[in-house]
């Protein structure tokens, strides 16, 4: 771990070197009234005045639809072509927030629980995160309540904290980060000893995470799930914008003798998620599905993978058509 300083021009220089190196660079771009991650070529395209992108950047390592393998059938026999990791390009995720970077830990935990996921790991290996600390936050942010914070380094390769002079404090955190810095080593100067916490957003602590986990351990039959989920419409918006939701469906894209087995995003909010062919559905009503979402992130994952499935980014609350505010719901569980 090494701390440095980079000036405004240094940033421009470094960014153009990254682009010149042929890596794909994704950064938040304001378009169609939304700020989303998009491939960029110049620093000028990167959005400035915004709190949070609508979607997380998990699609860089866990795309919304990807080919697990393809195959071709010839007179009863089948030729299979496996996923080729070389097709994954070097990628830099520029101006990610700490809650996005922190999301990679639970994702990696799920995708490497006993069996390792070749596709996920191939993407992660070629991805470098340049995270920017948060100078602003809003009512939906609660990273500080889930072991995170506006300046948290977890999951990042390089963490920049912007300074009033347009430069930034640079924390180089991993070998990947070091390698990326080396693309324009001269742009980096020695640490100026700036106090990083002065430039971080204020995100008040909303609840005690361990208390939430303890209460949830016995909350399976509590009426809270029905009360909270009455207005939930059962769509997948919360799961798909979430940086840590990793549930997926496996489908088949077959045309004639050729076909591909596809992995695509799925959500525990849908009834089809657990429907048996016999018609029996263990989670037939929305309150059971809302319970599964909360218990999985705040109880099952910590128990089984010792990592929480939430980074407090607040995207699910902002994206929800009926304002299912997870911060409000979790806080009310601690007050029950």
């Amino acid at each position: 771990m090494e701390t440095k300083y980079i000036s405004k021009n240094g940033l421009n220089e470094w960014f153009s070197q990254i682009v010149k190196s042929g890596k794909r660079v994704y950064a938040p771009v304001e378009e169609r009234g939304k700020v989303e991650f998009k491939k960029v070529q110049a620093l000028s395209e990167v959005a400035e005045e915004y709190i949070q992108t609508t979607q997380s950047i998990k699609s860089a390592v866990f795309p919304r639809a990807e080919v697990l393998f393809s195959y071709e059938k010839e007179n009863g026999q089948v030729k299979v072509e496996d996923f080729n990791p070389d097709t994954v390009k070097e990628t830099v995720l520029w101006k990610v927030h700490p809650c996005d970077a922190a999301g990679f830990k639970p994702l990696t935990a799920i995708f490497n629980w006993d069996y390792t996921d070749k596709l996920y790991n191939a993407h992660l290996e070629k991805t470098t995160l340049v995270t920017f600390s948060c100078a602003k936050a809003d009512k939906s942010c609660f990273c500080t309540s889930v072991n995170g914070g506006p300046g948290n380094t977890s999951g990042s390769d390089v963490l920049l904290t912007m300074l009033p002079d347009g430069g930034a404090i640079v924390e180089i955190l991993t070998p990947k980060g070091e390698a990326l810095v080396q693309l324009a080593a001269s742009a980096f100067e020695d640490d100026k000893g700036e106090d990083k916490s002065k430039y971080l957003a204020d995100v008040p602590l909303a609840f005690d995470l361990e208390e939430v986990r303890a209460r949830l351990a016995t909350a399976f039959d509590s009426p809270v799930w029905k009360e909270q989920s009455e207005r939930c419409l059962g769509c997948g918006a919360c799961a798909f914008v979430c940086p840590t939701c990793a549930c997926f469906d496996i489908q088949e894209d077959a045309h004639g003798s050729k076909g591909k087995r596809i992995r695509c995003w799925d959500s525990c909010g849908f009834s089809l998620f657990t429907l048996h062919t016999s018609g029996h559905n263990p989670r037939a009503v929305q309150s059971q599905r809302w319970r599964q979402r909360i218990l999985h992130k705040f109880s099952y994952m910590p128990d089984r993978l010792s990592v929480f499935g939430c980074t407090g980014c607040g995207r699910c609350s902002r994206a929800c058509p009926v304002d299912m505010n997870i911060l409000e719901h979790i806080t009310s569980i601690t007050k029950k």
Binding site: Y26, A60, P63, A65, T87, H255, K260
Partner: protein, 153 residues
Amino acid sequence: MNNNNSEFEPKIVAFVCNWCTYAGADLTGTSRLKYATNVKIVRFPCTGRIDFMLLLKAFAQGADGVIVSGCHPNDCHYTSGNFHARRRWITFRGLLDFMGIDVSRIQYSWVSAAEGAKWADIVNTTVANIRELGPYTEYQKVADYLDKEDYNG
């Protein structure tokens, strides 16, 4: 026949109703009338059974043009199949046009069992129009999204 498209042979799919147009096409054959072989005919009990999505499925899998044809109004073997179909085509055509899908590649027609000549003419003109318009690559390109290399993310 314009020369730059001379080697392009349009692929046309025709969704036709069994009682009128399919019989009309038979008549075209028995009357020895020639018509372009680019068309692949799919037989339906009635135009009322032609799901609008089939047209899109045809384009997605390589068709450059589509013909949809059935009994004239009041001739329907099931009395109102073609009336329902007409409303569906009016609605669907408006929606496709609003979304920018090339509705000029879809030829709707009424062809009775006696109009063998009309059927041959419809097929020939449609093939000529589509040859003029060229392959519908714009749509097919979108269809094979997962084949492209950098689709993910």
